[in-house]
Amino acid sequence: MRIHYYATLREVTKTREETWTGPEKTLGELLDALCKKYGPSFQKWVAQDGHGSLAIFLVNGQDYRSLDGLETRLSPEDTVSIFPPVAGG
């Protein structure tokens, strides 16, 4: 699974993308695992009760809210893109 990070998350994770080989089966599980790995400075941008409700999560270019939300199932060939809520124009 490939994960792409954008905007402020690049500074937090110190990378643009990473290959993920963890056991997580849903988007929600993956986000939890990433929050654990990168800590509170990552969590504040993606947690649903904070700014995360405005974050954009794409699975293969499809917005997670048009799929099964945080229950969207993931497979090893998927690409997940995570955008913190920073944009407009």
């Binding site: 905007a7 690049r10 270019g61 917005d63 809520p85 944009a87 407009g88």
Partner: protein, 601 residues
Amino acid sequence: MFGWTGTILRVNLTTGEIKKEPTNLKDARLFIGARGLATKILSDEIDPTIDPLGPENKLIFAPGPLSGTMAPSMGRYDVVCKGPLNGTVAASNSGGSFGPEVKFAGYDMIIFEGVSKKPVYLWVKDDQAELRDAADLWGKNVFDTTDLIRAATEEEAKIACIGPAGEKKVLFASVMNEMHRAAGRSGVGAVMGSKNLKAVAVKGSGVLEVARPEDFEKAVMTARKMIENHPVGGAGLRLYGTEVLVNILNGVGALPTRNYHESYFATADKTGGETLSAKYLIRPKGCFSCVISCGRVTKVTNPKFAGEGEGPEYETGWGFGADSGVDNMDAIIKANYLCNELGLDTITCAATIACAMDLYECGYITAKETGGMAIRFGDGETMVKLVEMIGNREGIGDQLAEGSYRFAEKFGHPEFSMSVKKQEMPAYDPRAVQGIGLQYATSNRGGCHVRGYTISPEVLGVPSKFDQHTTEGKPNLVITFQNLTAALDSTGACLFTTFGIGADELAALLSSVTGVPYSTDDFMKAGDRIWNLERLFNLKAGLAGKDDTLPQRLFEEPVPAGPSKGEISHLDQMLPEYYSLRGWTEEGVPTAEKLSELSLS
């Protein structure tokens, strides 16, 4: 008087007469100010069928009732006239601090009529106004013009001016203020050039008061807090600027690429806000009373494309980037600087060049027509050269200066122009985002995103998420955004305040400043009224329902690759409902009943 100053300055460039007249306050209440009120005056005073570059057109510089107060990020103004790019009513919005200065000088707007025999500029200092010879300024770029006029008037005068592009009547010439802020679209700069008006310089030492200070202070604090707490209005835009949208739109497969042949650009990241911030950003910049600071002070050091200034914004980064197939950020930023110096709309300029690239690659124009130049997608150097040629109407630039539609039509392929009503569509692909396609098709000035920015709900999920690929509920969504934006524009507010506040807060600010009680409904109704007024003007100018459409490519060529592969625009599923919800006939004409409801009969 509060909010409105009550005085309009009217300048007859033919006779040289300058006079003051009272603002029609009944109209001011109904149409608010800026875009709305100036459009009302234009509608009353000119025949919509006139030649936009002829002497009968009028050019109005109009701030809003909030401009000049401490209402947060609400110091903008509009340049209003009949637009020469496509004959629609043009109201081009700009920030900086020019608008507030007009208010401080004591005016709700400055109206120019007629044509000056020789190049002139207007110098306004409070109640004194005079036309001055601009012979020494004619031919100078925007930056030099601004400095020279300041030296000749006052160092802290605010200047709105045209560059060589406006003087040469490039059909998408802009009016620039504070050097880097643009009233960009629809060719308002060409109208200024056609009147031999080089600049408007203003210095105001007057007073602006608010009707209900306590309510105003509360409304300002509330609005500031809401904007500051919003991740976009409060942090994102200051950190990355609007260019941060590049990767998002690309991520969902909605970044029009190579003149709308595709909607995904593989190297988009090189042209986005993250790259801009990391490599080119010096510091953020804010317009008058702004709390968001989305402006980018930038610099390019590569000697081939060296320059400094402000920008680029998202549409510019897209137009000179993905749309032209260019991922050389130095070239993109240089093209942006040149547009500002010459006074050109970056969206139309870039999309016109992209159209030329498309025609060249398909063999419909050749080296014979281009004077030996190869114009190909991805060639940043040629792209930058073309911007200079367009701004000066040199070589093929003279033909490109007519915009993509007339250019493509001349070579037998108008369908290569990615425009609506001859104004080029900006940076969101209607095949990938259905609602924005309806906005483009119905916008009162042609291809335009900003007046009905449904990208917010459809892609960003602000204020709530709508599926970008479906058509359900989109007509209502587009109408709501169009009405809200029309009213918002007319107050002097910046659209980006909507990353934080909405109609409630805007109505509260407007009421506390002017003393006129606007409910949220009144506010939205004013927006509906302004939208319909613009529609009426356009219908009288000769446009019709059949012009509410999109380029054939978006119906016939599905997106070939990327996250939105296979999609086309389903405008036909949305347009009839749009007309119906607007209270218009099936041909898109406002009914008598609708006009009466809006006090427009």
